[in-house]
C-alpha cells in the first residue's frame, strides 16, 4: 500500500464527522444528510486526481459536499423542511427549560437561509476560521464573516428581539411567545453565569 493512497482515503474517513455536521446544517434532515455525505464521498473518490497536492484537503471536501447540495437542490426543489436536527439532544436529561430553549433554537436555525446556517455551524461547532470557511464555501472572507454575523443577529432577533411572539406564536400558539421568551432569557442568563464562573 502506498502512503499516498492511505493518506487520501484516511483523510476522507477522518473528515466524515465534520461532513455530516455540514450536511445536516444544509439539509436539516438526517436521512438527507447521510445521502449527501455519501454522494459527496463518491464525488471525491472519482475526482481524487483533481485534488491539488499541498492545498487544503478539508476545504476541498467541504466544497464538494456543498456543490453536491446545490446541485441536488436544483434537481429537486421540493426539499422537506423538517426539524429533526437535534432529536437526540432533546432526549437528554436536561431541565425542561433547556430543552424548550433548544427546540426554539432549532426552529430558528431552520428558518435561516442555508448558507447562513452552514456558515454559523462551521464556525461555531467546527471552530473553523473565517478564512477556512471562505475557502470551504468558495466565497470571499468578507462574505463568510457577513454570513456568520447575519445568522447570529437574525437568531437573536427572532429569539429575543422586539417581536419574539411573532415567531414563537407561529409554532406554539398565541400567548406562548412571551412565556418562551422568558424561558429563553432565563436559560441564557444561567448559561452565561455558569460560563463566567468557570473562567
Amino acid at each position: 500500500m502506498t502512503t499516498t493512497t492511505a493518506r487520501f482515503h484516511d483523510q476522507i474517513i477522518a473528515i466524515l464527522p465534520k461532513l455530516r455536521v455540514q450536511a445536516l446544517a444544509l439539509t436539516r434532515n438526517r436521512a438527507g444528510a447521510e445521502d449527501l455525505v455519501q454522494d459527496a464521498v463518491c464525488n471525491a473518490l472519482s475526482a481524487q486526481e483533481s485534488f491539488i497536492p499541498g492545498t487544503n484537503f478539508a476545504a476541498w471536501m467541504h466544497r464538494i459536499l456543498r456543490n453536491r447540495f446545490i446541485s441536488n437542490l436544483r434537481k429537486r426543489r421540493d426539499t422537506t423542511d423538517i426539524d429533526d436536527v437535534p432529536s437526540s439532544a432533546f432526549a437528554t436529561d436536561a431541565p425542561h427549560e433547556d430543552r424548550l430553549a433548544l427546540k426554539e433554537l432549532a426552529k430558528a436555525m431552520n428558518r435561516l437561509p442555508s448558507d447562513q446556517r452552514e456558515a454559523l455551524v462551521m464556525v461555531v461547532v467546527h471552530g473553523m476560521s473565517y478564512e477556512a470557511l471562505a475557502e470551504s464555501t468558495g466565497c470571499a472572507v468578507g462574505t463568510a464573516k457577513s454570513r456568520v454575523f447575519r445568522a447570529r443577529r437574525q437568531l437573536e432577533a427572532w429569539l429575543f428581539g422586539e417581536k419574539p411572539d411573532r415567531f414563537v406564536q407561529r409554532t406554539h400558539g398565541a400567548g406562548a411567545g412571551l412565556r418562551a421568551e422568558a424561558v429563553l432569557r432565563g436559560v441564557m442568563a444561567t448559561t452565561a453565569r455558569t460560563a463566567a464562573n468557570r473562567m
Partner: protein
C-alpha cells in the same frame, strides 16, 4: 412604543435597548448559542460512520492499490 394587546408585558431591559442600537451580538447570547449548537450537532458528529460508507472508501482504496495508480499526495494543512 406599541402596547401589546394581550398577555403579560415585559418592560424592555437596558440590555435589550442596547442590543437594538448596536449590531454587535452580546456575549451572553454568543455563549448560549455556542452551547446550544454544540448540543444540536455534536451527537451527529460522534455517531458511528455507516458501514456501507466506510466500505465504499475502502473498496476504492483497494481498487487503486490493485491498479497501481497513485492518487494525489496531500500535504495540505486541513482547516
Amino acid at each position: 412604543m406599541k402596547q401589546r394587546k394581550e398577555g403579560p408585558s415585559f418592560p424592555d431591559s437596558p440590555q435589550k435597548v442596547l442590543l437594538r442600537k448596536t449590531p454587535k451580538p452580546d456575549a451572553a447570547f454568543d455563549v448560549w448559542l455556542q452551547r446550544g449548537l454544540h448540543k444540536m450537532f455534536d451527537d451527529v458528529a460522534s455517531e458511528p460512520i455507516p458501514e456501507d460508507l466506510l466500505r465504499l472508501i475502502e473498496d476504492d482504496r483497494k481498487k487503486l492499490e490493485g491498479s497501481g495508480k497513485q492518487p494525489t499526495e496531500d500535504t495540505g494543512t486541513g482547516e
